[in-house]
């Protein structure tokens, strides 16, 4: 096995959290190395460069690794879950293929036990993260409109994405109903920003942005971190974290692109591998001293997986909408976000208003839904479906439950022979009631917009789950994996900064909170450098 020079800080994973923590720690002048199992993605690689831009969303830019099947991906056994795993393995991680929708958790999400008597409170609150949310908005480049009465004050540095035809139809419907709506915050540059060109509406942002207008960490945090001296090594797949005779993390064993095994020694190890990759690696790091996996004295590594069930209600209005000619996000509604004692469930959801679909996606989606027949009737029906589509997503709060979990599959392995993760996940009764409530409200909005052919997908093609909660933070070592500033209770030089540490998931896309938490943990580390392991 090849031995490498010792580094001060080893970060595993270069996505949303790994990039943010690397950039933040760079000012310490410590020797920092990040290992990433994927590659850099070039602007010319993205589908919007070619005529097959839609088909590639079902191929090499599919958001589900099991279908994408790149050689940089690892398989996931998610057969026992209606919700499928989404990720991307490359510099930038999931920010390469996210929608760039940029809501924050609400203050109440951090205190669900105190406020609603369910699950657990976080050991930190919204206000401890607020300045890191703001810093992250500046670093990623957020666009939005201040003044939303549905969320705490925030100050996005760029104006919001345009309302468009689709947004105007939704807005009129929401005003008829008297319900809250607001243009979504996004990380899409609506003006030239920090070296990035502004959005020219290449279509849905999910399969990456050839223009570079969508913020992904390969073009936001990483250039600055690299310039500050951080080293980023691609095509390095970590197998396990090794501990020394004192029970401290000694470094990591990884495979390079040629399959050669290396040992990378480090003073501090930071895990930034997402809510599935991190528990997988901790469980794969079992040893005589840590027989149930590393950092797992609580038995909670891999448990409390939250995936955000996300039903989508679609319909067709009379007029032509924006289709796939704009970012998929347009606006949100917080009308039903907070707990209402009059309902038969606790917590709530965000309504997210999508633009529409391109010609291929519309055809595939409509045949799957049974709306578009094969044969001579195909053309006539298709002309009624292309471009007037409206779609509303119901982003449900998904409370933690220990039986929803990540374990190691006894048989499935990746191309390096490393055991793959297995997902066992079921949607709770509370969440199911929430989903049905949200579906009914979305149907009311569709009716107010004059939509016909209204239909619902409860678990939708290409709407897999976010990956949260599998190494939760807390002050009690028996009820959490890391402490209130991200350090493992069991291994005092091991930190976790990704979505694994979430105690609750809220009813929003999680990336802005994942990064705010990562910046918060990095800040805590910097403040405690003199006694980091005490």
């Amino acid at each position: 096995m090849a031995g490498n020079e010792r580094v001060d800080v080893l970060i595993i994973g270069s996505g949303a959290s790994g990039a943010a923590v690397a950039w933040s720690l760079a000012e310490t002048k410590m020797r920092i190395l990040c290992l990433e199992q994927g590659d850099w993605v070039k602007p010319t690689d993205f589908p919007s460069n070619g005529r097959d831009w839609e088909a590639r969303r079902f191929g090499d830019f599919e958001i589900r690794p099991n279908l994408r099947g790149r050689d940089t991906d690892y398989p996931v056994n998610d057969d026992n879950s209606l919700m499928k795993v989404a990720n991307f393995n490359g510099v930038g991680g999931g920010t390469i293929i996210y929608t760039a929708h940029w809501p924050r958790l609400h203050p109440s999400d951090f205190k669900v036990k105190s406020l609603d008597g369910v699950a657990d409170d976080w050991p930190i609150d919204y206000w401890a993260l607020e300045r890191f949310y703001e810093e992250n908005d500046r670093m990623m480049g957020a666009s939005g409109l201040p003044g939303d009465p549905g969320v705490p004050p925030r100050h996005p540095p760029m104006p919001p994405i345009p309302l468009g035809r689709t947004g105007a139809v939704y807005a009129q419907a929401m005003n008829r109903l008297g319900w809250h709506w607001w243009p979504s915050d996004t990380t899409i540059a609506t003006t030239p920003y920090d070296g990035r060109a502004q959005c020219i509406n290449l279509g849905h942002c999910t399969p990456g942005c050839a223009q570079g207008a969508k913020a992904s960490t390969d073009i936001t945090y990483w250039p600055l971190a690299l310039r500050a001296g951080v080293e980023l090594r691609t095509r390095c797949r970590v197998r396990e974290i090794v501990t020394d005779e004192h029970g401290m993390a000694a470094g990591a064993i990884y495979y390079d692109a040629e399959g050669r095994e290396h040992f990378q020694p480090a003073e501090v190890v930071i895990m930034a591998c997402n809510g599935v990759g991190t528990p997988r690696l901790l469980l794969n790091s079992a040893s005589a001293r840590f027989p149930n996996g590393l950092a797992n004295s609580s038995g909670l590594v891999g448990r409390n997986l939250m995936l955000h069930p996300w039903p989508v209600v679609s319909g067709y209005v009379e007029e032509e909408m924006d289709g796939a000619r704009a970012p998929i996000t347009s606006m949100w509604s917080k009308q039903f976000y907070e707990t209402d004692p009059a309902r038969d469930f606790v917590r709530g959801y965000t309504l997210q208003f999508g633009r529409g679909a391109g010609p291929v996606t519309e055809a595939i989606g409509s045949t799957a839904a049974g709306h578009l027949p094969w044969g001579r009737g195909h053309h006539g029906i298709y002309r009624q479906l292309l471009n007037p589509r409206a779609s509303i997503g119901v982003a449900c709060d998904d409370l933690p439950e220990e039986h929803n979990r990540v374990t190691l599959d006894p048989e499935l392995k990746d191309s390096n022979g490393i055991p793959a993760p297995r997902i066992d996940y079921a949607i709770s009764e509370n969440t199911r009631r929430m989903m049905e409530h949200g579906i009914a409200r979305a149907e009311e909005i569709m009716a107010a917009a004059g939509a016909t052919r209204v239909h619902t997908s409860r678990t939708v093609l290409n709407y897999p789950g976010h990956l949260l909660g599998t190494a939760r933070m807390g002050t009690d070592p028996e009820r959490s994996v890391v402490n209130e500033w991200g350090r493992s209770h069991d291994v005092k030089n091991l930190f976790i900064v990704d979505g694994s540490v979430f105690v609750t998931g809220g009813g929003v896309n999680p990336t802005s909170t994942i990064q705010a938490v990562a910046l918060y943990i990095a800040d805590q580390m910097k403040q405690r450098l003199a006694n980091l392991f005490d």
């Binding site: 839609e54 549905g150 345009p162 468009g164 105007a168 005003n175 290449l202 279509g203 001579r376 002309r383």
Partner: protein, 154 residues
Amino acid sequence: MSATLSPAEMDHLGEIAGAMIPASADLRMPAADDPVILDDIAKSVGRDLALVREAIAAILKMANGAFAGLDQDAKEALINDYHARGGAPAEALGRAILAAYYRDDRVLVALGQEARSPFPKGHVVEPRDWSLLDAVRHRAPFWRDDRMTGTGER
């Protein structure tokens, strides 16, 4: 097993694709068995090749090996029945045909779409009127402030 569809498989695929999306002279739409489109399907089937083969075989079996001899009504009934049963092969066959068909220049032009990649030209999205937001702007904040006490004070 070959990494590409054999000539016989291409013949069967053409028969099936042509029945799934027939030509429409009125709408100026080619059929999915148009040689250019069929060639695109074959070239781009990629990782779905095994599933597409499975779908072709299943459809032929349902037609007792005589799909080409069926009339259009019977072909459509058989294909819609097969597709309604679902399954990965049916989805893969449909996806392969639709992905190639709806990026063909003639098809896009007939649909009033621009036949080009999104980059570098992009699209124009109408800004529309933000006065629609006036109904919401003046609402009092309604997010739940965890710092508030029972008396409404921070």
